[in-house]
């Protein structure tokens, strides 16, 4: 059971570099491996390396990983893989591939985590790093591979219980601290502060809302599909009922006429069972919308805080202007 994820400062810097570099060159999702070790209930991530861009050659990928791990081991770097990371923009990381990859990691290495690094938020100045693991119920669901509504209901899975979040702490060794002190003198850190106080919020807000609207549209169509399926199944049940009753009646009449009853027919051949639509997509979409709407609320409350900061400034300016007249 992992309760805490401890990340080295080096890993954070490498993540930032890789994800932002990739974003600049256009690829939206980049992935990589996390290396480290497990100690009691704490997972320590000490190193990471990026994966190649997803191409057609998955064999190349495996070779790349193996060579990388071998070489890193020569340099005394922890070579045990403890998870993987993925970049995302504004919390749109949830997808079936993510769940399946995390499933394969969690089954092979029990303590593995998935780190999601949000590039859009970091560009705004807030380092956004979250660690997720699949819950026990999701593990069962993915293993069975049956995403129908019945199975989901039986295992009591809701979109909120797909992933659990694990708290993250950041740690640096003493030598790193010395390096940080050195960097503080060299890099004027004041440069980074201004973007927080930027009042122009409509751009980001628009993008976030658009993402949310798209997901909502998709969720809507999924719901319509589900409802239609329900109606068809209901109609089928009613027809089955009618058919059985007709059969029973006919049989009764035949018995009255002293004839053999009709042979029992396989209902399933007459009324083919309709495959239920997978509940996975709606679950994922609901999860994404949930995440996005939380981000939007947070962003709006920040922007409001910034607006309220300017209010007394304006008041002071007005009073200064009036007092100087």
């Amino acid at each position: 059971k992992i309760e805490l994820v401890q990340i080295d400062g080096l890993v954070l810097m490498k993540l930032i570099k890789h994800c932002h570099e990739a974003e600049r060159s256009g690829s939206l999702f980049v992935q990589g491996a996390l290396l480290g070790l497990v100690s009691e209930s704490r997972l320590e991530v000490t190193h990471c390396f990026p994966f190649m861009a997803l191409g057609d050659d998955s064999q190349d990928d495996d070779e790349f990983q193996l060579t990388m791990l071998r070489r890193l081991r020569q340099m005394n770097i922890d070579h045990q893989q403890v998870g993987w990371y993925q970049s995302s923009q504004f919390a749109n990381f949830l997808s079936l591939t993510l769940l399946e990859s995390q499933f394969s990691y969690q089954t092979s290495i029990e303590e593995s985590i998935c780190l999601v690094f949000d590039t859009a938020k970091t560009a705004q100045g807030f380092v956004s790093l979250k660690a997720y693991r699949l819950t026990g119920e999701t593990l069962k669901l993915v293993k069975e591979g049956d995403y129908s509504a019945d199975n989901v209901k039986e295992n009591n899975i809701s979109y909120e219980s797909l992933l659990t979040e694990v708290p993250i702490v950041i740690k640096n060794s003493y030598l790193m601290n010395a390096l940080l002190l050195e960097l503080q003198e060299q890099l004027p850190l004041q440069v980074g502060g201004s973007q927080f106080l930027d009042l122009g919020t409509s751009g980001t807000l628009e993008t976030q809302l658009r993402v949310m609207m798209d997901s909502l549209d998709e969720l809507n169509s999924e719901c319509l599909k589900f409802n239609k399926h329900q109606q068809i199944v209901l109609k089928q049940i009613q027809e089955k009922n009618k058919y059985i009753q007709k059969r029973a009646q006919e049989n009764k009449q035949r018995i009255d006429r002293k004839e053999d009853p009709l042979p029992a027919e396989d209902l399933n051949k007459l009324f083919k069972p309709i495959p239920p639509p997978s509940r996975m997509n709606p679950l994922i979409l609901s999860g994404t919308i949930q995440n996005t709407s939380e981000e939007v609320s947070e962003f709006c409350s920040q922007s409001m805080a910034k607006l309220f900061i300017t209010e007394p400034l304006q008041a002071a300016k007005a009073s200064a202007a009036s007092s100087s007249q």
């Binding site: 930032i16 030598l175 390096l179 890099l187 502060g193 201004s194 949930q290 920040q302 008041a315």
Partner: protein, 289 residues
């Protein structure tokens, strides 16, 4: 002459070097490795690095060239825009062996740079220096080469600064007594506002001292201050109120809508599960013959 080169280093490179130094074998005193990045006219930008295994004896150096080649190829697969630009070593000085190692790198790329990072904290600081190998001597007579220092500085993009900001919080904490977690957004904003306040205080004090005559007036700063004051948009309080209110209303509406969406999601899920259960119940009611 190539001595006009400026070197820009990203923080991630320094972190990597420090980390490799911490993980070195017990018998090695220093760590060497390859620097990769890009060259743009007279400016070399170092964006990544990796260390290579090596052993130093009194008269010779052994370094695993295959390893360096392989790591460079692997790196190229992930970041095709990074080229070999030089090599690094920890420690404070350039030794005899450095010339040999530099020779190897000179074969790989034109004019490599050599970076040293003093992880041994010899002067109480972690000094970083960069060199190029410059041929000198009298032409026609004995020529040699020497390492000439070139200006080097640390540059970071905005996301990197945000990351460093977070790491700085941890540097005054003792190891693992109170670990730092990524901060919630509002805290960051209040911090930035406090910083802004500090800046304004410094500026006001400066202006006050210039007016008093205790400080020499500087034209450049004066002009910048003038720009600063002029850049505040002029509007009367009514206009400002209106703008503020409309923005606040927009934001409140978005917050309300997102809360409503969340509730709708929950409802949707409950209802779908319920109807699925219902259908199952109805299916059970079909009498089987």
């Amino acid at each position: 002459m190539a001595v006009n080169i400026r070197v820009k280093v990203h923080p991630v490179v320094l972190f990597q070097i420090t980390d490799s130094y911490e993980r070195r074998n017990i018998d090695s005193d220093r760590v060497i490795g390859t620097l990769v990045g890009s060259v743009d006219k007279q400016c070399v930008e170092v964006t990544n690095c990796f260390s290579i295994p090596h052993k130093e004896h009194t008269d010779r150096v052994e370094a695993d060239i295959m390893y360096a080649q392989e790591m460079f190829d692997l790196n190229k697969k992930v970041s095709p825009q990074e080229n070999l630009v030089g090599w690094f070593a920890t420690g404070n000085e350039v030794t005899n062996h450095s010339a040999l190692i530099h020779d190897y790198y000179a074969r790989e790329t034109k004019d490599p740079i050599h970076l040293t990072l003093d992880t041994t904290l010899e002067n109480g600081r972690m000094t970083m220096k960069a060199y190029v190998f410059v041929p000198l001597g009298v032409p026609g007579a004995t020529t040699g080469s020497m390492f000439t220092p070139v200006p080097v500085e640390v540059v970071a993009s905005e996301p990197e600064i945000a990351g460093l900001d977070l790491l700085h919080k941890s540097k005054h904490q003792k190891l693992l007594t109170r670990p730092i977690e990524p901060l919630p957004d509002l805290t960051k904003i209040s911090e930035a506002a406090a910083k802004l306040e500090d800046f304004l205080d410094v500026l006001i004090r400066y202006v006050g001292s210039v007016c008093d005559g205790s400080h020499q007036a500087d034209n450049v700063i004066g002009r910048q201050l003038w720009d600063l004051v002029q850049s505040v948009p002029k509007m009367d309080s009514e206009e400002f109120e209106r703008m503020l209110n409309s923005n606040v209303r927009d934001l409140l509406m978005v917050i309300y809508l997102s809360q409503m969406t969340k509730t709708q999601l929950k409802l949707n899920e409950k209802l779908s599960m319920h109807s699925a259960a219902n259908i199952k119940e109805m299916a059970k009611l079909i009498p089987s013959d």
